[in-house]
C-alpha cells in the first residue's frame, strides 16, 4: 500500500514538475520562434540566449500589484483563473508519456492513470477550461472582458462538436476509449495515415479550443484590447497565461497520442519519441501562429458549423464504410 502511494506520489510530482517546466519554457520557445520568423533574435539578455527569461517573468509576476476592479464580482474574479489552470493541469493525468519501464524490479507505467474513458475525460475537462475564460471576462466588469468571454464560450462550444466527431473516427479505428489503448492500437499504423481527415479537423478544432491564431477571437488584441483577461494583473494573469500554455502542451500531447502513434517509434525509447512528437506539434502551433492572420468572427463560426461539422460526419461515415467493407 505504502509502496503504491509512494510510486504514485513520485510520479505525480515528476509529471507536474516536468509539465510546469515545459509550460514555462514553451513561452520562451514561442518568443524565440516568433522572433526568428520575424528575423529577430527573441529574448537574448537574461541568461544564455534568454534561457532564464521564463524564471524572470515568473518572479516579476509574483511581485506585481494585484488589482481587483471596483465593478468586479470578486469571488468569481478570483475563481476564474483557478478554474482555468486547474482544468488545464487535470488533463495531465491521462496523458500516456510512454510505455511501462522497469526500475529496481518494479514495473512502472509512465502515465498517472489509464482511464477506460480517457478521451471523454479529456474532452470534458478541456471544456471546463473555457469556463475560466468566460467567467473571467464576465466577472471583471469590463465591456472588452465581457465581449472576449462571450466570444470564447461561443467559439469553444462550436468547435467542441467537430473535435469530438474527429475523435470518434479515431475511437472507431482503435476500438477503445482509453488513451493507452489508442496508443497501443497504433503500433502498426499511425492514425494519421488511417484518419487523415480526422487529423486535419482535430488540429483546426484544437487551435480554436486553444484560442490561438487564426482563432484567437477571445483575446483579439486589435479589437478587444486584450479580451477576457484585460482586467487581470500579476499572478492571476500569469495563471491564465500558464493555463493557455499548459493547454497547448496537452493539445500537442493529445495529437501525438491520437494520431502520431504516441510513444511508438524506432531506436529511441518511447518517452523520447513522445516528447519529440509533442514538441514538433508545439512548434507547429507557434509556426502557424506566426503565419496566419486572425479570421473574422463570422468566418470562424462559418468554418466551424458549415465546414468542419459536416466534414466530421463525413469522416465517421467513411470510416464506418471502410470498416464494413474491409473487416466485415
Amino acid at each position: 500500500m505504502i509502496e503504491f502511494v509512494t510510486i504514485l506520489l513520485v510520479k505525480t510530482l515528476v509529471v507536474f514538475g516536468v509539465s510546469m517546466l515545459i509550460v514555462a519554457y514553451s513561452t520562451w520557445f514561442e518568443r524565440k520562434v516568433l522572433g526568428h520568423v520575424q528575423l529577430r533574435h527573441g529574448p537574448m539578455r537574461v541568461g544564455f540566449h534568454g534561457l532564464l527569461q521564463p524564471i524572470a517573468d515568473g518572479i516579476k509576476g509574483f511581485f506585481k500589484e494585484e488589482l481587483v476592479p471596483e465593478n468586479a464580482d470578486k469571488p468569481v474574479f478570483i475563481l476564474a483563473p483557478i478554474i482555468s489552470i486547474a482544468a488545464a493541469l487535470s488533463l495531465l493525468v491521462v496523458i500516456p508519456f510512454g510505455d511501462s519501464v522497469t526500475i529496481m524490479g518494479k514495473e512502472i507505467t509512465l502515465y498517472l492513470a489509464d482511464l477506460d474513458i480517457g478521451i471523454l475525460y479529456v474532452l470534458g475537462i478541456s471544456t471546463i477550461g473555457s469556463y475560466g475564460c468566460m467567467l473571467g471576462g464576465w466577472s471583471s466588469g469590463n465591456k472588452y472582458g465581457v465581449l472576449g468571454g462571450l466570444r470564447a464560450s461561443a467559439q469553444m462550444i462550436s468547435y467542441e462538436l467537430p473535435m469530438a466527431l474527429a475523435v470518434i473516427g479515431v475511437v472507431m479505428v482503435s476500438g477503445t476509449l482509453s488513451l493507452v489503448g489508442i496508443v497501443n492500437a497504433q503500433a502498426g499504423l499511425w492514425n494519421i495515415v488511417a484518419q487523415p481527415l480526422a487529423f486535419v479537423i482535430f488540429i483546426i478544432c484544437g487551435l480554436a479550443e486553444l484560442n490561438r491564431t487564426p482563432f484567437d477571437m477571445p483575446e483579439a488584441e486589435a479589437e478587444l484590447a486584450c479580451g477576457y483577461n484585460v482586467e487581470y494583473s500579476s499572478m492571476k494573469f500569469a495563471l491564465f497565461f500558464m493555463a493557455e500554455y499548459a493547454h497547448m502542451f496537452v493539445f500537442a500531447a493529445m495529437v501525438t497520442t491520437l494520431f502520431l502513434g504516441g510513444w511508438h517509434g524506432p531506436f529511441l525509447p518511447g518517452v523520447v519519441w513522445f516528447f519529440i512528437k509533442t514538441f514538433a506539434m508545439i512548434f507547429f502551433c507557434i509556426w502557424e501562429r506566426s503565419t496566419f492572420p486572425r479570421c473574422r468572427y463570422d468566418q470562424v463560426m462559418k468554418l466551424g458549423w458549415k465546414v468542419l461539422l459536416p466534414a466530421g460526419f463525413l469522416n465517421i461515415f467513411l470510416t464506418g464504410l471502410w470498416m464494413l467493407v474491409f473487416s466485415g
Binding site: L39, H41, W287, S290, T291, K302
Partner: protein, 161 residues
C-alpha cells in the same frame, strides 16, 4: 463601369473562403515563415555589435592635442563664429608670452546640428567630429561639454553593463 456586378461583389466581399481558394496561399505562407525561421536574424545586438557608421560620420566633438599633450586650439573663435547653431562658446586666455589658448571651450551638444563647419573652419586642425554617437545623460547641463569632456569623447562609447 463594372461589367459583371455580381462577380465583382463576390470578389470584393472576400471571399476566398467561399471559393475555397485559400488553402494554397496559406501553405505558401507557412513555407515563407519557415524559410524566415531558418535564415539569419538581421538584428544587431547593439552594445556588443554595432552598426558600421559612414567614413564621414559626424559625431561628438573632440579637441585635439599636440605631441606634448596640450590643446592645439588657439581660441581664435572661428568655429564659434561659423557655427550656424551657435553651439560653441569660447573664453580665450592669453599668457604673457603671447601663447593663446581657450580658458573655457563649451560645446552645447543639444544645440549642435553636427554640420561639421567648425571642423572645416579651424585653421589649426584643432577640433574634429568623431564617430562617437551614443552619448546619453539625465540633465541638459551635462550636454554642455567642457574641455575635459571634449578631450576624450571616446569614453562615452556605450559598452553595455
Amino acid at each position: 463601369m463594372i461589367e459583371n456586378k455580381k462577380e465583382y461583389i463576390k470578389n470584393v466581399s472576400g471571399c476566398r473562403a467561399e471559393t475555397g481558394k485559400f488553402i494554397v496561399p496559406l501553405l505558401k505562407g507557412m513555407v515563407y515563415t519557415l524559410k524566415n525561421f531558418f535564415s539569419k536574424p538581421i538584428t544587431i545586438q547593439y552594445p556588443s555589435e554595432r552598426r558600421e557608421v559612414s567614413q564621414r560620420w559626424r559625431g561628438l566633438h573632440k579637441l585635439k592635442t599636440d605631441d606634448r599633450g596640450e590643446l592645439k586650439c588657439v581660441a581664435c573663435g572661428l568655429c564659434a563664429c561659423i557655427c550656424p547653431a551657435r553651439a560653441i562658446s569660447i573664453t580665450p586666455y592669453e599668457e604673457e608670452g603671447g601663447t593663446r589658448y581657450p580658458k573655457e571651450f563649451i560645446v552645447n551638444e543639444i544645440r549642435c546640428i553636427f554640420c561639421g563647419f567648425c571642423e572645416e573652419a579651424c585653421p589649426r586642425d584643432a577640433i574634429e567630429l568623431t564617430k562617437v554617437y551614443d552619448y546619453v545623460d539625465y540633465n541638459r547641463q551635462d550636454f554642455d561639454f567642457d574641455i575635459a569632456k571634449l578631450k576624450n569623447p571616446e569614453q562615452f562609447v556605450f559598452k553595455g553593463k
